[in-house]
């Protein structure tokens, strides 16, 4: 499996135009930060969604993650605003 599954929630979904996509980034993409930089090149909507990372939280395989954390093929990666439940 060489692909990663990406999920977008709330206004990130509105800006990227999709709630879910499967991607095969280049091998150099090894961290969340690297993935974010690569995702910004996918579309203007992606670039806009990821312009300010202070407004974005991440999860890898359903655990909270930070931009320095590793990502690899087969991972499920979610991008969303800080949560507002309760």
């Amino acid at each position: 499996m060489s692909e990663m599954k990406l999920l977008y929630f709330a206004w990130l979904r509105n800006k990227t135009g999709t709630g879910q996509e499967t991607i095969s980034p280049p091998a150099e993409v090894r961290t969340l930060g690297g993935l974010v930089e690569w995702l910004k090149t996918r579309s203007p909507g992606h670039a806009e969604a990821l312009a300010d990372l202070s407004m974005v939280s991440f999860a890898v395989n359903q655990e909270y993650a930070e931009v320095g954390d590793p990502v690899k093929p087969g991972d499920e990666i979610a991008l969303f605003p800080p949560v507002t439940g309760g």
Partner: protein, 161 residues
């Protein structure tokens, strides 16, 4: 116990069913969160909202709620606990969330309940979108919620026996 569901719930019935038969329980504390009719967001603050949509992350939402509950059970002597959180389309006055904690003595039930509510507001993957005349706006996370959650990171005073 954790439930993430679209459907409404009955707080009194849930409390009755959960603690029935356990005569070691001396105190039951419940919190019910409701949709208010006034917007939380920026320029629309204090304007009426017509409704709210709650989005969640199936899989991770349940996992994080179960983890928060497990932490509370480890930290306080809780005999029974229940978190119910709805998702989907809601209207002002609707119930959103229910947190119940039961213990032999009241201090543990009170503290664990507040801990669970403070933590689910900062860790449970849900996102609220408010619908108003001016359009739909995603609610932003509050600094007051993060501060409330942060006060639990120091060890709590030992619950009264």
């Amino acid at each position: 116990m954790i439930r993430v569901q679209r459907e409404d719930f009955d707080p009194a019935e849930e409390a009755r069913a959960l603690v029935e038969g356990d005569h070691g329980i001396g105190g039951v504390v419940t919190f019910t969160g409701l949709v208010r009719e006034m917007a939380d967001v920026g320029g629309d603050a204090d304007r009426p909202i017509s409704g709210m949509t709650l989005e969640h992350y199936p899989g991770m939402t349940e996992k994080m709620l179960a983890r928060i509950e497990a932490q509370a059970l480890e930290r306080w002597p809780i005999s029974a606990s229940l978190i119910i959180h709805r998702y989907g389309d809601l209207e002002p006055g609707d119930r959103i969330v229910f947190v119940l904690t039961a213990s032999a003595h009241r201090q543990a039930a009170y503290e664990a309940n507040m801990f669970l509510v403070d933590w689910l507001k900062t860790k449970a993957p849900f996102w609220k979108r408010e619908d108003a005349e001016t359009g739909a706006h995603w609610v932003e996370a509050r600094g007051s919620d993060s501060e409330a959650a942060a006060r639990w990171t120091d060890a709590p005073p030992k619950a009264a026996e």
